[in-house]
Symmetry: D2
Subunit: 453 residues, 4 copies
C-alpha cells in the first residue's frame, strides 16, 4: 500500500534533491492534514477547505465502495451499477445511496466508504448545531429529504412510538397555525388530523397565543409542532412555553426551525425550550441554512434515541446527494466561514430595515413592528387593490425574486390569521444574500412603486 | 443573442476559409442536433449521447434558472444560494430541487431551466415504459425518492382519493406476502394496516394464491399491492388476476415492479393486467432498472390523473438529483443502448443457469424450478447448517457480492412462506452485470463450496 | 438546428407558463451574451466571465473540430485521436494543437473550432497590449512556447528576413548584458553569436550605457535585444535610445518585456520607443503577466507583417494549451479584473518598500536606490559571507519562495556586472501576489535575519 | 499525517462493523496499488488505470507543488499564480511547467510534485520504447514541443556538441529528401544548410538510395537525418545502412520516426540500426503514436548522455501539458491496451488493403506496391486531371478526412522525387483508427469516384 505520508521516499535516489522532496512532502502533508483532523475530531473544521481537498476526500471514500472493486463479482440485483461515468460526478462517487432495509444510518456492506461518509456528515450536523447555539443537542442526522418530508418522517416515527408507549391510538397533531403548504401536506401525507390554533393580531404582528393552544388541546393529540422562522406578520411561537406544556402533557414536541439556524435569537429560544421542557426533534432545511441545493434537512435532538428512531422509520434507501451537499457546505465554509455568513446576514438585515425606513418616509408608509431576524415588512396602505396586484408583476419584471406582497382582499392564507387587514410587502435578508441584493431590491421596489402609483 | 447555428458567420471575413467554417458549423450542428430532437420528440433518443452532449444540455438548462441571473436581486429566504461551486457539479447545476408547495411537477418560477429539465425527464420516463412493453402507459414521473418511499407516496395519494371518493375511511392494504423491509416499512410509515396473504409452496416455488387473496379480502381495504420482480423462491404475483379482482372490488391496485423493467416477461404480465382490469400505478426503481445511483423511482400509470395526484401529494420540495440521474441514464444509453443491456441480461441469465447446472451436477444438487427472468436458485441440501452459514462468509471473502444463502433453520423471512424447508443459494444476472461477473461468481461459489465442505 | 435564443419555444404549450419561459430565456440570453460580444468585438471583455461561461465557449468551439464528427471517416495518420477522455479535459477539448505545416496561425482544416479559438485569442492578445499602454501595437500572437523559446523563434524569423533583405549573412546579436540563462540559451539554441555589452554600476543600480552599446556595434549584427523587467540591481535598458539606434543602423530590435506588462512605467518606455525609432517585436511571458500556468508568451508588434513572419517560422504544430490558458485568463479576469490586479500590484510594491524600510532602520541597512516597479532590494552589508549563505536556507525553511540573496564573493552572475560589491536581498511584489505574501515575507525575513545573526 | 492505508482505523469503534471497514480498506488499497507499483517499477503498467486513479495520482503530485502551500509567502516574479481555477483543470494541476534555467529535466524547487511527475513520465517513455521493439534504448524524454521543434532541439544540441568535439564549425545536414514542411522548417529554424538527396523511383516506390547519400556527402555536414514513417510512394530510408555510414564518418544520426512506434517493422529497422552503427536520437510524435492531443514528442536514445544534452539545450521553461498528456495515455492504456491498439492497427491495415484491392478490380486500377505498414496507395490512372482535383473535394464533402490525392501535373512536392508520374490516392490505417473508419472511407471513395467519373 502506498503511504502518501512517505510518498517521496520512492524518489530518494533520483535527481530530485532531498530538500525538495522534503518540501513536497510537507506541502502534501498540509493538504492532507485537514482530512486527518476531520477523522479524528469529527467536527466542522475551523477554516474551510479548498475544492481540491473536498474532492480528494470524496474520491478517497468513494473508492472504498464495492462498486469500485474490479476484482469483485457482482450477482445482486442492486450493485450500484451505472449507465454513465457522469453518474459518478453527479453523485460525488457514492452510488449506493444511504440507508439499508429501512434504516437510514445503518452501514451498507457494499458501501463502506459511503457509510463512513454518512457517519462523518452526521457528526458535523450535530457539531454545527451545537456551535450555532444548541449545546444541548445529543445527536443529529442529515435527512435525505427536505423539510416537509422530514417533518412527515419525524411525525411518523414519533406517532408509532407514542402509540406503542401510551398504548393508545392517537392520530392528531396540535398545530399553531402556519400557512405553509409543505407543512400542511406533510400532515396530510401521513393522514394525520390537524388541530389548528388560529393566530391573533397583536399590533402589526400575528402570534399564536399559548393559552389558546392549551385550550385547544383535548387530550386527543400525540404531538405538537412549533415554529420559529416564518414570514411576517406571523412571529415565532412561544417555543419555551410550548415545550413546558408538551412535557406536562406527555406530548411529542417537534420544532420546525426551517431557516432558523442563521439566527442566534431563534436558536436561543430553542435552547431554552430544550432546557425547560420537552423537545423531541428540531428540523431545519439544509439549503436555507447551509446553502446547499434543495433536498435535505438536518434533524437534531437532545435525545440520541429519538434520532435513531427517526432513522429506522425511513422506508428503504435514499439518494446520498443531500448528505454530500451538506458535507460539502460544512467543509468548504468551516466554522469561520459560517460565522462570517451569519454576521453578514445580521448586517444585511439591519441594512434592509434602514433602507426600507427611508423609503417608508418618502411614501408615507411604515416599517412594521414584527419580530423577525431575517425579514422586514413594510405597510402598503396607500396602494389600491389593483396597484398591489401590479406591484408583484413589476418587481418580477425588475428581476427582484422572493418578495411577498399581501393584499387583504385576496386570500388570507399566509398571514396565519383570518382578520389581518393591513396590506404589506415582505423582503428577506437571508443568509447568503449579498449587500447588493438588498440595496438593489429596495431601489427596484422604490422604482416599481413609483411606476405603478 | 448568439445563434449557435450561425456561429461561424462572425468569422466570415477572417483568415479561416469558408469551406472550413462551413465544416465547423456542420460538426457543431451535429453535436447540437440531438438536443433539438429531444426537445421536439420528447422521447428517449435512439442512439446514446456522449458525455459532452449531456453536459451541454444540462449546462444550457441550468443557466436558465434565476440563481444564475447576475442582474437579479434576491430577497427570498430560499434562492438556491450555494456555499461552494462544487454544489453546481454535484447538482448538475440545478440548485432549486424539484417541486413547489407540495406539488412535484409544478413549474418553479425561480427555476425555468430546472422545470424544463423535469418535464422532459418525465416524458422520457413515459417513453421508456412504453418502449419496454407497456404501450398503455399514459403518464409517468420520476419520483425523487426511491422505491420504498415512492410506494408510501403513491399509497398516501390513493388512500386520500379512495376515501374521498368512497366517502369511507379505509386504512388497510391487501398484501400478497413479500418479505422485504422497504415495502413493509412504507406501509408502517403511513400507519397503514396490513392484511397479508401468506405464500404457498408449489414444488420449489412460493406463490401467493389468488384465491387466498380473494378470501382474505373482507371489504376493509382501499388497495392491493402486487409484485413482479423478487428473489426466488417467491415468484411474481398473478398480476392480471389481481387486476381483475381490483377492478371488481373497486380497489386501488399498485404494482411494485422493483427491477422488472429489464424483463419483457414481467412487463408483459403488467401490460395484460392493465388491459384486463385495474392498475393505478406501477413503481420501479431507477437504479435497479436504469443504472442510476440509488435515489429515485419511476412511477407510471395508464391514467394521467393518477400521476398528477401522486405529484400533488409530495410534501414540499425534493432533491433534483434522482431526476437528473435518470435523465443522464436515458440520454447516455439511448433506446439502442438500453436494448443491448436487456439482451445482455438475457444472455447472462441463461449463462448463469447453465453454469449453475454444471456445478449442480458436480455437487449433487439441482437448479430449482422457479420462474424468474433475473435470478437462479440452486439447492444446498448437502450442506449442514454451519456450512450454510460459513458459505456466506466465504463468498464475501471471495468478493462475491449479492448472493443470498437461505438456511431454513434460521429465520424464514425472505421466503414469503412459513414452511419452506429447502436450503438454497440465489444469484442474480441483473441488468448491467457483465459476463465476467457471472462466470467469476459461479467459479468462486464452487471454490467456496469445496473449501467449506 | 437548435437555436438557443429560442429554446423555450419548444415548451410553449407545456405546463410551464409563458412568463416563466420568458424569464428562463432571458437568463440564458444573459449567460450567452458575452459570447456574442466576444465574437463581435474580438476584445477582452470589460467584466470577467464565470467559469461556466468560459467552459461553454470552449465546449462549443471544440465541438466544431472534426475529431468530434461521429459521421466522419478518418484515414489520416494524425486525426486527433485520443487514448482517454481525460485528454479532452486537459486540452480544453482542442486536440489538434495549433499550427499547420510550420505556420502557427494557419487555419487547420480538421480543426475549424480550434482555428477560431486561436484567432480570437490573438485578437485578445493584441487588445490587452493596447489597453495596457501600447496603443501602437498592430498585431500580436500567443506563442505556444515560453519566453526563452519565443525569443529564439522571433530571432530566427528576423534573422532570415534580415539576411534576405540585406543580402548579407549576419549571425550576431547585440546584447545589453542580462544574466538570465533562458535568454542566453535562446541565442545558443540558434547558434547565434553574442556581442554582449557589460553593465556599469551607477550608485546602487546597474545600467547598460547606450554609448557603450553604440561603441560595441561594429556593423556585424542583425539585431539588438533590449530588456525592461529584470531583478535589481540591473535596471531596464534605455529602450527608446536603443530604438532610435536600431532605426538608424537598420537593426532588428526585439524588446524582452518578460513581466513588464504589469507595469505602466515599463510599458510607457516601450510605447515611446515604438514611436521614436524601431521596435520589431515585444515578447512577454503569459504566466508572469497574465497568471497562466507556464508555457506561453505573447509576442506583439507595431507591424502586422512581423507577426506573420514569426508565425510562419515555427516548425510544425504545437500544443494549444498555452493559447487556451491565455484565453482563460483574459475571459476570467476581464479588463476590470486585470486593472484591479495591476492596482493591487502597485499597492503591494509600495507596501513592500515601506516594510523593508522599517526593517532596514532596525538592522542598520537600507533600501537600495534602484528603479524597479516590481522588486525592492535591501542591502545586507552587516552579514558575513556564511550568514548570507545561511539566510537563503533559513528563508526556504520559513517557506518564503522567490527572494534572491546576492553574495559578491560567490559568482557575479545575476548582477549583469563584474564589479558589484554590495550584498543584498531582492523581493518582488509581482502581479497576483497578495498583501499577505508581502507582509509575511518581510516578517519572516526579519525572523530569519535575527536567527542567523 | 493521514495514512490512507489505515484510514478505517478512525472508525474502529463506530457503528460500522470491522469486516465492512476491512473490506472498504481492501477496495481502497486496490485502487491505490497501481500508484505504488508505478513508483516502485517506474514502468508502464500492465493494465490501464481508470480515470479516477489517474486523476488521483495527478492531484496527489500537484498538491506537492509550492503554489498549493497556503502557508508559503511568495515573493518571486513567477510563482505559478493563476487567474482562474480553470487553469488547474487544464494544466492537470501543474502550473510551473517543466524546465529550469534552460534545463528541461532539472528539478524545480518550487515544484517538487511537478518534478516527480516529469521524472516518472520520462521513465515511462523509455519503457514503452523498450517494450515496443527497442530494448537498446537507454534514456528517453518527453519533449514539450512537437516533432518538428523537437528535431530542431535535437539538432541544436548535437550541432554544438559536434562542433565542440570536432573543433570544427559545420552547419549542414545531410537529408534524404522528405517532402514535409515541418522537417524542412526545423532546419531553417536553426539556419542550417540542407544537403538534400533526391528520391528515385523503383517501380511504384520512391526510395533514397544509400549510395546517392554517400556520394552527396562531401565532409561538410555534422549530421544526417533519416526517416521511417512517411506517405507512399516514399518508403522508409535504409536506416541500418545510414547508421553504419554515420558511424564510419563520425556523423550525428537522428532518426525521425514520426509515427513509427506503431509499426514493429519500422521499429525493427531502428533496432538493428542502433546495433549496427550510430544512432544518436530517435524522435517520435506523442499524438501520432500514443494518442495524445498534439504538442509533444518522445525523444529516445541508446546513449543516456545524449538525452541529457538535449534536455540542457532547451531555452527556458515549457508547458507541462504535453508531458501530462503522454503520462495519461500510458496510464490509461497500459501495456495491454497499447498492444491491443497495435494489433488492431495491423488488422485495419490489412482490411484497408483488401478493400482497396476490391475497389481496384472494379475500377480497373491497382493497389500500388509500396512498403508501408500504415498506409495504402491506389493508382488513379483512369482519372483526368480535373477529376483528380474534384476527387479531393468530393471526399471532403463526404467527411473523409486524411486521404491524399496526388496529381502529377500539379506540384511534385510530396513524392520526394521530381519524376513521379502516376496519379494515386493514399489512405492510412493508423493506430487508433476504427474498423468503421476504414470501411466507410473506402465506401465513400467508391461513391466519390463514381460521382466524378
Amino acid at each position: 500500500m502506498v503511504d502518501l505520508s512517505k510518498l517521496t521516499k520512492y524518489f530518494e535516489n533520483s535527481k530530485i534533491p532531498d530538500n525538495m522532496l522534503h518540501r513536497g512532502q510537507l506541502v502534501l502533508n498540509e493538504f492532507l492534514k485537514p482530512i486527518k483532523n476531520l477523522f479524528e475530531q469529527k467536527a466542522v473544521p475551523h477554516e474551510g477547505w479548498n475544492d481540491e481537498q473536498i474532492l480528494y476526500l470524496l474520491d478517497t471514500l468513494a473508492n472504498m465502495d464495492t462498486d469500485k472493486d474490479e476484482k469483485a463479482s457482482r450477482v445482486g440485483e442492486r450493485e450500484a451499477r451505472i449507465a454513465s461515468g457522469l453518474h459518478l460526478r453527479i453523485s460525488g462517487g457514492f452510488c449506493h445511496g444511504v440507508g439499508r432495509s429501512g434504516f437510514l444510518t445503518a452501514p451498507q456492506p457494499k458501501a463502506p466508504g459511503g457509510s463512513i461518509m454518512y457517519e462523518i456528515t452526521n457528526y458535523l450536523a450535530r457539531d454545527i448545531m451545537r456551535k450555532s447555539g444548541l449545546p444541548n443537542i445529543k445527536a443529529a442526522i442529515i435527512s435525505p429529504v427536505a423539510t416537509g418530508m422530514s417533518l412527515a418522517l419525524t411525525l411518523s416515527a414519533f406517532k408509532t412510538e407514542f402509540n406503542e408507549t401510551s398504548k393508545s391510538h392517537q392520530n392528531s397533531i396540535l398545530l399553531p397555525r402556519l400557512d405553509h403548504n409543505s407543512i400542511l401536506k406533510a400532515l396530510d401525507f401521513l393522514g394525520l388530523d390537524k388541530c389548528i390554533v388560529d393566530g391573533e393580531v397583536y399590533g402589526d404582528a400575528v402570534r399564536i397565543n399559548l393559552e389558546d393552544i392549551k385550550k385547544k388541546y383535548k387530550g386527543d393529540c400525540f404531538a405538537i409542532v412549533s415554529f420559529t422562522s416564518f414570514f411576517p406578520p406571523r412571529e415565532h411561537d412561544d417555543i419555551k412555553g410550548i415545550s413546558k406544556f408538551a412535557k406536562e402533557k406527555d406530548l411529542v414536541h417537534i420544532v420546525v426551525n426551517a431557516y432558523g439556524v442563521q439566527s442566534p435569537e431563534w436558536m436561543k429560544m430553542i435552547r431554552s425550550a430544550i432546557d425547560a421542557g420537552r423537545v423531541d426533534a428540531i428540523i431545519q432545511s439544509t439549503d436555507k441554512n447551509f446553502l446547499t441545493p434543495v433536498g435535505g434537512a438536518l434533524i437534531a435532538s437532545p435525545n440520541k434515541k429519538k434520532i435513531e428512531k427517526i432513522s429506522r422509520t425511513y422506508p428503504g434507501r435514499a439518494s446520498a446527494t443531500p448528505v454530500i451537499n451538506f458535507l460539502i457546505s460544512m467543509l468548504s465554509l468551516g466554522v469561520d466561514g459560517y460565522e462570517k455568513l451569519i454576521k453578514q446576514q445580521q448586517e444585511n438585515r439591519k441594512l434592509l430595515e434602514r433602507l426600507l425606513r427611508d423609503v417608508a418616509t418618502k411614501i408615507n408608509e411604515r416599517v412594521m413592528d414584527i419580530f423577525n431576524p431575517v425579514a422586514v415588512a413594510l405597510t402598503l396602505n396607500n396602494l389600491k387593490e389593483e396597484q398591489l396586484y401590479a406591484l408583484g408583476g413589476a418587481l418580477y419584471n425588475l428581476r427582484v425574486t422572493g418578495p411577498r406582497v399581501y393584499n387583504p382582499n385576496q386570500k388570507r392564507f399566509g398571514t396565519c390569521s383570518e382578520n389581518y387587514e393591513t396590506p404589506y410587502i415582505v423582503m428577506n435578508a437571508a443568509i447568503g444574500a449579498t449587500r447588493e441584493d438588498i440595496t438593489r431590491a429596495v431601489e427596484r421596489f422604490e422604482q416599481a412603486y413609483s411606476d405603478i402609483k
